[in-house]
């Protein structure tokens, strides 16, 4: 359950996998993301729940992504996501624009073992117009009441970073409940954590309420500051200086390559 190395834990994420990751503020597995880039993972179908920032931009820039399913990619206060923007302008990745609650609902559909979930809104939006995989039906309980049905989304692997896991693979996720849905929906779930919790998270009534059971977890790897430079809830904040450096460098392909050399590939030598 507890992998010896990060690379061992990441083994389930193969080329062409549908990989689902949480939003930028809920525990993005950035050390793992850098390891995937070093390994040279290819043709990912990347699903973000529901948005992403540096994580998606890095994977796209490094050429790991074939299809992107997201409701937004941006560096937030640090500006647009440069490699995402460049890839979309160049048409080098297949884009599936979504909207936040649609991604939540599509993963909840898989969590619940149903083929689709309905969602209000969307009708008259070009988001819907560009999603032939979404359907509009007439609400059978209404009268001339069109409603959108969204197909269940079944990631091969969910990947995120959390504060602690115990030796049985139970992971404390706190109020980041979307991580529970993510793990329920994915075939396999890989988690990196700051440290191992010495005890049983499920036994403690306080901790149990915020715990993803190890039953759903394929592998856990210990990676201190594994969300860096993104924040980890209740542990550490965003590294603003680093994000600024990234935004500046990633503005050009050359700068992005330099960033990879400096912050991603450096570990190769180690």
């Amino acid at each position: 359950m507890i992998a010896r190395t990060l690379d061992e834990a990441l083994a389930p994420i193969g080329d062409g996998a549908m990989l689902a990751v949480p939003r930028e503020s809920s525990g993005a597995a950035m050390a793992a993301t850098r390891a995937l880039i070093r390994r040279g993972v290819k043709r990912l179908h990347l699903v973000t729940l529901p948005t992403s920032s540096l994580q998606a931009d890095l994977l796209i820039g490094a050429g790991c992504v074939a299809t992107l399913e997201t409701s937004a990619v941006s560096l937030g206060e640090f500006g647009p996501a440069p490699r995402f923007t460049a890839a979309l302008l160049a048409g080098t990745i297949r884009m599936r624009d979504a909207t936040c609650p649609a991604l939540h609902a599509q993963l909840q559909a898989t969590e619940k073992g149903v083929p689709f979930m309905p969602l209000r809104g969307l009708i008259g939006s070009d988001v819907l117009a560009h999603r032939p995989d979404w359907r509009v039906i007439d609400n059978p309980f209404g009268d001339d009441d069109p409603i959108v049905l969204l197909p269940a989304l079944k990631p091969d692997v969910a990947l995120f970073h959390a504060a602690v896991a115990d030796r049985a693979g139970n992971v404390f996720i706190g109020i980041q409940r979307e991580l529970i849905t993510l793990a329920h929906a994915a075939q396999k779930t890989v988690v990196t954590v700051e440290e191992i919790y010495d005890g049983d998270l499920l036994r403690d009534p306080l901790r149990a309420a915020g715990t993803l059971p190890g039953f759903y977890v394929e592998a856990v790897a210990v990676e201190p500051r594994g969300a860096w430079p993104l924040p980890l809830p209740d542990r550490y904040g965003i590294d603003a200086a680093h994000l600024k450096e990234y935004a500046q460098l990633a503005a050009t392909p050359e700068g992005f390559a330099q960033y990879l050399d400096r912050h991603v590939y450096e570990k190769r030598a180690a």
């Binding site: 941006s74 209000r120 809104g121 070009d126 988001v127 409940r177 603003a240």
Partner: protein, 255 residues
């Protein structure tokens, strides 16, 4: 009594705060520092005057959010009819209230690409008071017709819709949205700006009365609240913004 000095962001937060009005729950989404400032201002004002404080939830905040059911709770909450006010922006906004957070030009071969629609394609339909904000007021942003409708300003009668736009705030003026006419109406022009300038920089037609008032400036009390109480709260989620606008550098956890 001389008019206090204030920054554009302070004026806009004050304008938005008044648009919020007396409600139970104001939610603020991603990349919305001025709406976040306005929502917290609304709460602190109510608190100061012993009025019922609105619940405020700022996306990305630990201190100013009551959500415990994960990232989906904002959307579920709105679906339950429990979000009264939300804020949306757009790379383009048109005179029908349509917003575009996706791309300029052909979707498949865009000339410009924005981050994406976020929750707009849902929240615009189900939150009763959606306040549009777009600082850059130009013919590039306020267009006759958006290239991509992330979310439409209005819907046919048979489409389920309990929400929609009530106003558009820019760095030059405030527009109200007239639901009957499905058009914007110029409500006030911000101090230091002119009607001619607004007309010149707006790509869509809008209604206006013969005599358009000037947006009232924030009061001394409001500025004090903003700078002393609200700014440190905003710094938790928007440190860069708080530093630039208020000179606040250390987020102070609120109790």
């Amino acid at each position: 009594m001389s008019e206090p000095d204030f920054r554009d962001e302070e004026l806009l937060a004050d304008v938005i705060c008044r648009l919020i009005g007396e409600v139970r729950h104001v939610a603020v989404g991603a990349q919305s520092p001025i709406p976040a400032t306005a929502a917290l201002l609304a709460r602190e004002r109510a608190s100061l005057h012993n009025l019922r404080k609105p619940y405020v939830s700022l996306l990305g905040s630990r201190a100013h959010s009551f959500f415990t059911d994960g990232a989906r709770e904002l959307f579920d909450c709105a679906g339950q009819g429990r979000v009264d006010v939300f804020f949306l922006s757009g790379g383009q906004i048109d005179g029908d209230g349509n917003i575009n957070l996706v791309s300029v030009g052909d979707y498949d071969h865009p000339k410009a690409r924005f981050p994406g629609s976020f929750g707009s394609a849902y929240l615009y339909y189900v939150v009763p008071k959606v306040i549009l904000f777009r600082l850059e007021h130009s013919r590039r942003t306020l267009v006759p017709k958006v290239d991509f409708i992330s979310a439409p300003g209005g819907s046919p009668d048979n489409v389920y819709r309990s929400g929609g736009p009530i106003a558009l705030v820019t760095n030059r003026c405030l527009f109200d949205f007239d639901h009957a006419k499905k058009r914007f109406r110029l409500a006030s022009v911000h101090p230091g700006h002119t009607l001619a300038e607004v007309i010149d920089n707006t790509g869509f037609d809008f209604d206006r009365s013969a005599d358009v008032p000037t947006t009232s400036a924030p009061s001394a009390e409001t500025l004090r609240l903003l700078r002393s109480t609200v700014a440190p709260m905003v710094a938790e989620v928007y440190p860069e913004f708080a530093k630039r606008v208020f000179g606040v550098t250390v987020p102070i956890p609120s109790s």
